[in-house]
Symmetry: C2
Subunit: 548 residues, 2 copies
């Protein structure tokens, strides 16, 4: 008992020395931390949860029957653990898509069974499609002219080849990706993550919108040319396949099949074609659309707070995945950890001041559908852009950066959101998203977890996942810093994203820290401090004028 209060005092002193003392009362309740650690380390169910999501249910593409199964299973499991009001919240999505089989073979100049996967939302074939292969790398609409009239009945390789570089000759950052190693952050690397990167120029970059549109333009062109099939090159090496596809609306679905081929097999075909050797492929895909329900769903559940209308602390992760592999580290791991965090809190019997709500989002991979719908239902709405380029785009893309933000009543009761979606690596710290008060609080909250390797707080932003929908409207939304392992270099959106690639120790550690952050946020005296409200940037206003 004495030791504990000495430690608590010294933590508070340490922090007040560093941060000026304003958040000294955020020192966590170490008795509760001990309970969380004991439950999370000695009575964990995190691997059992991950096993069910990945081995049993498998990949959970938004709109697919497996996603529905995952929605229902998580809802029932959260209820079984004692959470309340476990429910599904729908959002408009469009047709679902699943594949059953794929068979791609080189038939000339020699035969070989190739590694390829169908690309999502492209149709299956009616028996095998065979044809001569044309290498027609296209990067912009200008390239269409080059191949017009030459692709009828052809199987078209549409991506350029990028030769493998010797990674021992690359710089450290590129080498990390090329080497596909399992890596943990060094102290030096964590210092780099900590150092704030002052923004330059306008962040209103819309190249990602054009990038997403490119796939639609290319498909339109190849359909008009009556190509037999599209072959894209997987950006991964060592036969791993990333076959992410574009979501299509009903009535707009593509009419020719498309596969993504392992880079080794793709590049070999190109080398043979470069010798003027005819290359033929045979390609058969069984795939189908699901149009019985054009909505898809997120799973939500609560540990209710005290009082009539308590404030809200949220945690979450996206439940949907791509269909390569079993969606284990993207993001079965995040789901298993956040579910384990609320299981721990229920198991140790906490009575939170604020309501704790878990959100297991659908449609993250296609553009934050589930979490953004949650924001629109409960927190705030913004106007939509009218833009032809955005016709296939998700609501988030159409409304991103638009003003005014119309707040709903729950906006003021919202405290903070914590997200996990960077693979299965343990937590090394947290991104404070430019919120200096949050950074000070997180420093304090991480003190009891330095022995688990978690001690870094950075003022930097990080993007690419569901906390952004909260951050964008000025609400505190955070994502953790996780050990990279081989998430970016190998597993992310690849066929190897399976259960085996998550390490138990990492997930247990993350669940304990997640539970503790959520508990601290639910119990602190004040609502979590906010960043300045977002407002239109001068650069964006000028740009809008110029566009008109």
């Amino acid at each position: 008992m004495i030791k504990k209060s000495i430690l608590a005092a010294s933590v508070a002193i340490g922090i007040s020395g560093l941060w000026g003392g304003a958040w000294a009362d955020d020192a966590p309740d170490l008795e509760v931390i001990s309970k969380i650690r004991d439950e999370g380390f000695n009575h964990s169910q995190v691997m059992k949860t991950l096993h069910h999501l990945t081995d049993r249910i498998g990949p959970r593409l938004t709109g697919s029957p497996a996603m529905t199964q995952a929605n229902e299973w998580t809802r029932d499991q959260l209820t079984a653990w004692g959470l309340e009001n476990a429910r599904l919240e729908g959002f408009d999505f469009g047709p679902g898509w699943t594949w059953e089989s794929v068979d791609v073979r080189m038939t000339a100049p020699r035969t070989d069974q190739l590694y390829a996967l169908p690309i999502s939302w492209y149709p299956g074939t009616d028996g095998p499609v065979t044809g001569e292969v044309v290498f027609a790398p296209m990067k912009s609409k200008a390239d269409f002219e080059k191949y017009k009239g030459k692709l009828k009945g052809k199987i078209v390789l549409v991506d350029a080849v990028r030769p493998y570089k010797d990674p021992t000759e690359l710089n450290a950052e590129d080498r990390r990706h090329a080497n596909e190693s399992i890596l943990r952050y060094t102290e030096g690397e964590l210092e780099d993550v900590s150092a704030y990167d002052v923004p330059e120029g306008a962040p209103g970059d819309d190249s990602w919108v054009s990038y997403k549109s490119w796939g639609y333009y290319l498909t339109d062109f190849l359909e008009a040319e009556a190509a037999a099939a599209i072959v894209r090159r997987s950006p991964r090496r060592n036969l791993l396949i990333d076959a992410t596809g574009y979501q299509y609306l009903e009535g707009e679905l593509p009419s020719i099949p498309a596969v993504r081929m392992a880079s080794e097999h793709y590049d070999r075909a190109v080398r043979l074609l470069n010798e003027d050797l005819p290359v033929s492929l045979s390609l058969e895909v069984k795939a189908r659309y699901h149009t019985d329900d054009m909505q898809s769903y997120s799973t939500l559940a609560d540990i209710p707070g005290q009082g009539r209308r308590p404030e809200l602390v949220m945690l979450g992760a996206h439940l949907d995945s791509w269909f390569m592999g079993d969606g284990a580290v993207d993001n079965g791991a995040g789901v298993a950890v956040t579910m384990e965090a609320v299981r721990i809190l229920k198991a140790i019997g906490i009575k939170p001041k604020r309501t704790i709500r878990i959100g297991l989002w659908g449609g993250e991979e296609q553009g934050y559908y589930g979490s953004y719908q949650y924001v629109k239902n409960h927190l705030a709405t913004r106007p939509a852009r009218e833009d032809e380029k955005l016709k296939y785009m998700e609501p988030y893309a159409r409304e991103f950066g638009m003003f005014p933000i119309a707040k709903k009543p729950e906006f003021d009761r919202f405290s903070a959101y914590f997200n996990l979606d960077n693979g299965s690596g343990k937590i090394r710290g947290v991104y404070a998203e430019g919120n200096a008060a949050a950074a000070a609080i997180f420093k304090t909250w991480l003190e009891p977890f330095h022995d688990l390797g978690a001690d870094t707080v950075t003022m930097n932003d990080t993007g690419g996942t569901d906390h952004e929908v909260f951050d964008d409207i000025g609400l505190p939304g955070f994502q953790f810093i996780q050990d990279p392992l081989d998430y970016d270099s190998r597993l992310h959106h690849s066929t190897a994203d399976t259960y085996d690639h998550a390490f138990e120790k990492d997930l247990k550690q993350a669940a304990v820290i997640m539970a503790s952050f959520v508990y601290n946020a639910a119990m602190r005296d004040e609502r979590f401090p906010r960043e300045p409200e977002p407002r239109e940037r001068e650069e964006d206003l000028k740009k809008d004028e110029a566009d008109e």
Copy 2:
């Protein structure tokens, strides 16, 4: 001109200082080295050769039509480059085997298309084989009792599961393998390779014989039990498959199909079975035997030496491969480099004192068939063991370590053999195989290649490839030290053994050094120094007596 002779003199002095001067006259002719470097670096054909072997011809399993094609193409290519007497030398091998397609699917508790390859020399199926899966890991004949009567009609998973360990928690050597990185030797690691490892106890270990026999016992057992199919676990991870199989003689061919499954998919099936969930598979394999020619072949060709019966310097690499991938780094790379070495020597117009002979061996992967047959045809023979355990074994296994060695006339004219078969990494040095005179000579020969990273000579042995058949009978046979890259950790015998994984700079460097070593050996005044003649070890004699 002056610079060159100063360098030559200083090399000679440097070496005589180190090694006592006896081999000071081995200082290489640096004018010739310059020509070799120029031809090898600026007019290389090594990647073109590798491309033809891998992309065009593809995998070259011994006994397969592609292997014959490779024999014929290398013979014709060597002839085109001006080598003489290019020819094939046959050896008895047995039926060849090729596969055309494989389709393995999980059908319960959910459906998924799995990554698997047929195992060589096992039969195809007559349509899909479907069945319930049983996990029956068997490691010794004693395990058969456990499963007797329980496997009829079942698809049997016969290998134990080994969970993935977090490689950041492993020791350096294990981490190297687990991380699957592309690695180059550090100076410290090269020092470790240099330090001589004094042998302990009797090296007459025959565990490898029992290991090889195990596959035959297991297949016999599962055939007797009328299992529907055998499923083995690939030892690789990240969906790479090693599907090496056992060679079978005619009349002994297995009657049930067997596949090797990616460890991720294998382990998932085991996890589901461990929950008492029935797992079913469907499995279809198209494969065939080739019995039109029970011989297979090595390719040989010469650059003739001067005089009536000149001595012989050899270089070589095995031309055969497994059927996973295209046999690029095992050992298309070695073949391309040795072929490039003789091409360089012909291109610069050397007139060697000794005959230079290239041997591109068949049947290495099944046990040095081609190179050992060469030894028996030309150099020496030894008696064969009579041992039931060895009934399926290759001649090398049956005769290994047997005495007396009956020398043939060419034995005395044989100078040295240089082999390359450790992936596509550049040469960092050479194994002197306990031959101190060789070590001194190699130090001298490597002097002009320190700028290419090749400067290590170790007295240690290395095994596992064709130089052993020469070394075993007391003739100088050597293998180079090569940068590990990802050969052991990822590519060796795996589906990713394709052209893209070899780096041009490495192969060019190796070809230049190989050409230079062969040239030096062909031109030196004396025949290459030999180790003491092998004789039966006292331990082996005692063991033989005890066995009787």
